[in-house]
Amino acid sequence: MKQVEMIDISKSYDKQTNVLNDINLSINKGEFFVLVGPSGCGKSTLLRMVAGLEEITSGLLTINGEPANHLPPKERKLSMVFQNYALYPHLTVEQNILFGLDVKKVNKEERKRRLKETAEMIGLTDLLKRKPKELSGGQRQRVALARSVVSRAPLCLMDEPLSNLDAKLRAQMRIEIRRLQRQLGLTMIYVTHDQVEAMTMGDRIMVLNEGKVQQVGKPITLYNEPANTFVASFIGSPKMNLGQAELLAEGKQLIVEDKLQFQLSAQDRIHLPPHQKTTIGIRAEHLYPAANHEATHHLEVAGVEHLGNETLIVFEGIGDQLWSAKWSGQWMVSPGDVVPVSISVENFCFFDAENGRLIKPAYKGQSQEVVAQ
């Protein structure tokens, strides 16, 4: 069943330029839906329109199958977690959590029961008497979460809730929010600019840029088959390596950035799009290290990052592009070295050279089968 639907939703502040253009979207009940995009792309505005904090300029928004454009926030049966948590600094944690129930005049027993239940679920039982200023960032985040949970609203909106936390805590809260959402069967709309958060948490992701939907889909689909070069460079870390490619020698040779030559096999030619000029994209993990005799190309190293379990190497000299490679293990190379690598056309995604739209994803499948025990 559809929990939230948007049909041709647009938003304009000055009646001339749209900050959001014709958004069409449906979000299922119990789904964890992530809105992701660079800052200023309109994702928070879209969320606030769902919450009813921002007017909808045109289009139709339905919540639970009912038109909701005209409904005030309180009648939309949702809860929201703000980026800065919006805790009331003059109230204790307990009063903060119960604020919404106070407003709705929920009776005392029920209030007590829900407070206890929520505090236990989120681990706030010992902090109930404290004021927000006496809490750490992570604890404040939990209070905001508790406030949302205690309302029992079936739809929960989150606006970059983890961006004020440090990396370690963020990773922990990601898991906790996800667990909570599953446990309570909440429908979640989650806004973030962090593609890692989007990839790890979302059932489905919508990528927004400059007020337009770039792609909607499962995280893995977005990763393997990015709809355009924007999604390709936005999703995944490091970003997908891109380069201008041209077909030469009657389609038997592909040359990337006038530098890297690829002789095309018969199989390659079946899968390749017929376009003369394209933009190709290849993921960092598909630039393989190679022994000298099996290397397809030699590239100059511009930078190296050692992460312990893997090594991130940045290559230069491919046109004016910097390409990165992710090699598992520890590789002792240093900037200036020329390193043999193996690159295969079968891992290339092809995009239209003009408008950047995906023509063909990499034809070599990505997924590996795991036999579940």
Binding site: L53, K74, Y88, K104
Partner: protein, 313 residues
């Protein structure tokens, strides 16, 4: 090797840090005083010296030029507290504070709350509401004098139109203090409004949005978010207003000259008359000292009481 070792350094002689530190501290103090010097000098000339001089004068009788003649000890103070005029002015002053303070705060708060709405052209109203801050006490008093005028005044003519008898706003002992209070409230609203509006605008709008999602109504938000969040500003405004009320002078001088029958003879005006009309510099100084002590105590009490009620972030 698991970690890189830190080599301990062995000093044979202890180093003299203490002396260098003391020297640095002296230097910092000197620099600080240098920067403070302009305000220290100004305050000394215009505040500290007059204050000490006032305390000194309050123990003497003086001639017309203000030179001390006879040392009388605490006699000035004892005279004051048996003087019916001073006691009356003390009472009037407290009444004046009681009349002006709640009115100013409530009206300004109301104006600030409505001027805080995001509406088209709200800047115009904000300007209007704060404009009385830009009007001098003298000009405002003249304007109010005309409003209060018994025969041609706007207020009395309005009353006459409603069939109510004329009121001697500034001449009737029952009304004079109230009239002065009303004009004072008008004069103070600009400043108080501006400070309160500033306080309102510093409240995080997300708090209201969060409450709106929970379904809180306008007055619920006002009571549970706006007022508590505004309490530090309210407290500040209240303290300043009390002090201002105790120091009121200009409008009294312009509107009533302390009359009728000393009904509006507030302390500061009383001090002025004692000193510059009656040439009793000694007892005027003693009154000034008493006023100082009263304001000091009121402010301390406010801080003590306020601290418990005020929420600071």
């Amino acid at each position: 090797m698991i970690t890189e070792e830190v080599m301990p350094l062995n000093y044979t002689e202890p180093i003299e840090f203490g002396k260098a530190k003391r020297k640095q501290r002296r230097k910092i103090l000197l620099k600080g005083l240098l920067f403070l010097a302009p305000s220290i000098i100004l305050f000394s000339i215009f505040v500290f010296y007059p204050m000490i001089r006032t305390i000194y004068l309050s123990f003497f009788l003086t001639n017309q030029a203000g030179a001390t003649t006879v040392y009388v000890g605490l006699q000035n103070y004892m005279d004051i507290f048996t003087s019916p005029i001073f006691l009356k002015s003390l009472k009037s002053t407290f009444l004046f504070v009681l009349y002006t303070l709640p009115g100013t705060i409530i009206l300004s708060l109301f104006l600030a709350v409505i001027a805080n709405e995001k509406l088209k052209g709200i800047d115009f109203f904000r300007m209007i509401f704060s404009s009385s801050m830009g009007v001098s006490v003298a000009a405002a008093s003249v304007f109010w004098m005309f409003l209060f005028h018994p025969s041609i005044g706007f207020i009395n003519r309005g009353l006459a139109a409603l069939g109510i008898a004329k009121i001697g706003w500034l001449t009737d002992p029952h009304w004079a203090l109230l009239s002065v209070s009303i004009s004072t409230i008008w004069m103070n609203i600009g400043f108080t409004f501006l400070i309160l509006l500033g306080g309102l605008q510093s409240i995080d709008s997300h708090l209201y949005e969060s409450a709106a999602i929970d379904g809180a109504g306008y007055f619920y938000k006002l009571r549970r978010i706006t007022l508590p969040m505004l309490s530090p500003t309210l407290f500040f405004v209240m303290t300043v207003s009390v002090i201002n009320a105790f120091q009121t002078f200009g409008q009294i001088d312009m509107l009533t000259k302390g009359g009728p029958s000393n009904e509006t003879n507030l302390i500061v005006y009383g001090i002025y008359r004692e000193a510059f009309v009656n040439y009793q510099y000694g007892s005027a100084s003693a009154e000034a000292i008493i006023l100082f002590i009263i304001i000091l105590i009121m402010t301390l009490v406010q801080f003590k009481v306020g601290e418990r009620k005020v929420h600071y972030q």
